[in-house]
């Protein structure tokens, strides 16, 4: 009897397991903080309603570095998750290694080519086929300012880098921290990126920092960029090294500092603090970059599945990500704008509207460029080299010429 029971149990298990597997996706991501976690929850519920299970595989840690380490070990051991939060050129690297699943039929059915802007869909494709689905578009070149601080100091919000130095000096003289900043490599790189775009313009940015063109990198513009970047050293406070970005944002919120250069995820901090855009805080394009847009697109890449049921669940997930409801809810929580074009914008605030307009406008003028500080433009090796030089220069008293020389050498070595 005992024997029979166990046989029965085994048979049932075999009968059941393909079914339960068929409708489940395992998703690796690092969206664990407040608003982000709520967005992921929404996607989970949406899939549950369609009969697809969700097995959460969250690995905490801001930039997703630990998540990537886990993903690599899972992939090497031949057991990758159904989908993972991967973005930018990394999608191509994973594609090259042969790990990614083709979800082109979902994309064709839903007409992704028409829904997504060209720059975004290019990133999602490997060898012409969709392998990933975008969830949002962040604009990185934002300047967040506290108007009250500016009034007190008798300064105006700057629109060029030259003006920035003048206004920042006024803030500093009035006893404020002019530029709220956290001394972490990626934040240094984020500010550096804004300076590159503001001083050098979109063409230079594209050539030097996306294509890695040595002539552009060796030009006088690079020295000029470092000159401006170096001038910013005097406008941050001594306590900045190691500070997290949201702590820097809170300095702007509580009137300790005048401005911060940070992507649109900073908006979430203002929102949580109960501040209104336009009155309590102002969002403008970083100095000299009003016609440009550095984009940072988050996306889920899909991994090859041996099980047909899992592959179906994967497709259901891809479809859900591009749905109007998900794109709206997710981006309202995250502060970004939807990757999908032509959506109703009533629910979004004025900063998001600016962002949407700039996105469309800059895509026509060539001002739409990928963010190198957020892994959208170049390989991890090259962006790492840029990080190293930017952060080293910003924390030293090296001259602009030295900075430019180090940058060229580091990029050449990493390519």
């Amino acid at each position: 009897m005992k024997f029979k029971l166990s046989v029965l149990a085994a048979a049932t298990a075999m009968a059941i397991s393909p079914v339960s597997q068929a409708s489940e996706v395992e998703v690796l991501h690092w969206w664990t903080s407040g608003g982000e976690a709520a967005s992921v929850q929404f996607l989970k519920e949406k899939l549950n309603n369609e009969g697809v299970g969700w097995s959460d595989f969250a690995v905490a840690g801001g930039g997703g570095e630990s998540a990537m380490t886990v993903l690599k070990s899972r992939a090497i051991s031949g057991n990758p998750p159904t989908a993972a939060q991967i973005k930018g050129p990394s999608i191509q690297e994973w594609g090259d290694l042969g790990f990614l699943a083709d979800i082109n039929d979902v994309a064709t059915d839903a007409g992704w080519d028409d829904l997504l802007p060209g720059v975004v869909s290019d990133v999602m494709k490997f060898e012409g086929k969709y392998v990933a689905a975008p969830v949002n578009v962040h604009r990185v070149n934002w300047l967040w300012a506290n108007p009250e601080v500016f009034t007190k100091a008798g300064a105006t919000i700057p629109t060029t880098w030259d003006d920035f130095m003048v206004q920042a000096q006024k803030l500093k003289d009035a006893g404020f921290v002019a530029l709220a900043h956290g001394g972490q490599a990626w934040q240094d790189a984020t500010v550096f990126e804004a300076v590159v775009l503001g001083v050098g313009g979109a063409d230079y940015y594209q050539k030097a920092f996306v294509e890695g063109d040595m002539d552009a990198l060796n030009s006088a513009t690079t020295v000029e960029v470092f000159e401006t970047f170096g001038q910013l050293r005097q406008f941050i406070d001594a306590n900045s090294p190691g500070r997290d970005w949201n702590v820097a944002t809170s300095m702007v919120i509580n009137g300790e500092a005048g401005m911060q250069i940070m992507g649109d995820w900073a908006k979430g901090e203002f929102k949580v603090a109960g501040k209104n855009s336009g009155t309590d805080y102002v969002c403008v394009a970083a100095p000299g970059t009003s016609g440009s847009f550095t984009f940072n697109v988050d996306s889920f890449a899909f991994f090859n599945q041996s099980d047909a049921g899992k592959a179906d669940a994967q497709k259901a997930m891809a479809d859900a990500i591009l749905s109007v409801e998900f794109q709206e809810v997710f981006n309202l929580n995250k502060g970004s704008i939807p990757a999908r074009l032509g959506m109703d914008r009533a629910a979004f605030d004025s900063c998001a509207h600016d962002s949407m307009d700039a996105f469309v406008a800059s895509s026509q003028t060539g001002g739409l460029v990928p963010s190198f500080a957020h892994g959208m433009a170049v390989s991890e090796a090259v962006s790492g080299a840029i990080y190293d030089t930017a952060t080293n220069y910003f924390n030293s008293s090296d001259s602009a010429e030295e900075g430019a020389k180090q940058l060229v050498a580091a990029i050449a070595a990493a390519q």
Partner: protein, 290 residues
């Protein structure tokens, strides 16, 4: 038969451990060495490219900073820890009151992980929160102590935190050594008219040689492996001014998709450890034979 089994049993019992050791230690060491000669980037790829990754490594200014930092850190960390540990041990050994309590206090930092040590010192050394603010609040408004945020001085803050953590442990080692010394020797020295300083310098310290040796080996491998302290205290910053080789290795192998360079740096670190361990093992094994 039974006799045979009985003889073999220890070997049988030890076998799993030995196998695990060989695979997990030497196997992976060999694997890393192998990887360092390939062009591996995000994933291991077995295309051999000779010494290219080593050339890249030594052309990287960040690695050179990490190496320089390692020398500074290792030297200061060992010397200061030994000195403080020895002094504490000598004072405690001179029949002070409440020795038990004092010993526990000095040994306590050892019970704390490097991450906690690093975080605590990060706050203490932060100019806006810690010592600088305290002294300024006391009325010395010009006081400046900003090593933590100074690119040239950041590495010394790591030395401070590491010494704070480890000197108690060195004290315990020396204290055990001092207690092991025969009282008669000291008494004999006193009868011969040697001063206390002279007794310590010429009799007791030379007898502490094995303890010095043990302490140096333990401290130097702590220094070479240091990773969590840097991560918690400075995050390698400002810039990458306080990076140590272990942090460099982690960043390049796992975050930067440059596994080849990361493996090469790991091999160099291994060579560093071997340079210390091999002479030590050699002298240990030789003295065993005598």
């Amino acid at each position: 038969m039974f006799k045979y089994l009985e003889n073999q049993l220890p070997k049988l019992v030890m076998a799993p451990t030995a196998i695990a050791m060989f695979v997990c230690m030497y196997g992976f060491i060999a694997w890393t060495v192998g990887l360092s000669f390939t062009k591996s980037r995000m994933m291991p790829q077995w295309d051999f490219v000779g010494l290219m990754q080593y050339e890249k490594l030594f052309a990287n200014p960040r690695w050179m900073v990490a190496l320089d930092n390692l020398w500074i850190f290792t030297f200061l960390f060992i010397v200061i820890s030994l000195f403080l540990g020895l002094m504490l041990a000598i004072f405690l050994d001179r029949n002070v009151r409440a020795e038990g309590a004092l010993r526990t206090i000095y040994l306590y930092p050892m019970a704390i992980s490097f991450v906690v040590t690093g975080t605590a010192w990060k706050w203490i050394l932060n100019p806006g929160l810690g010592i600088e603010k305290l002294v300024r609040d006391l009325g010395f408004t010009d006081f400046e102590f900003r090593w933590l945020v100074d690119q040239d001085m950041a590495i010394y803050t790591i030395v401070i935190a590491a010494v704070w953590q480890s000197s108690g442990f060195v004290m315990a080692m020396f204290l055990a050594g001092l207690r092991g010394i025969d009282d008669n020797l000291i008494k004999a020295a006193q009868i011969d008219g040697a001063s206390t300083t002279r007794t310590y310098w010429h009799i007791i310290l030379p007898m502490m040689k094995p303890v010095f040796f043990g302490a140096i080996v333990v401290l130097s491998h702590i220094a070479i492996k240091s990773f969590d302290l840097v991560q918690a205290l400075t995050g390698g910053g400002p810039g990458y001014a306080s990076d140590l080789p272990a942090n460099f290795m982690y960043t390049f192998a796992f975050n930067r998709a440059q596994m080849g360079v990361g493996a090469a740096s790991a091999v160099i670190m291994l060579c560093g450890v071997l340079a210390i361990l091999v002479p030590y093992l050699y002298s240990e094994l030789r003295s065993d034979k005598q």
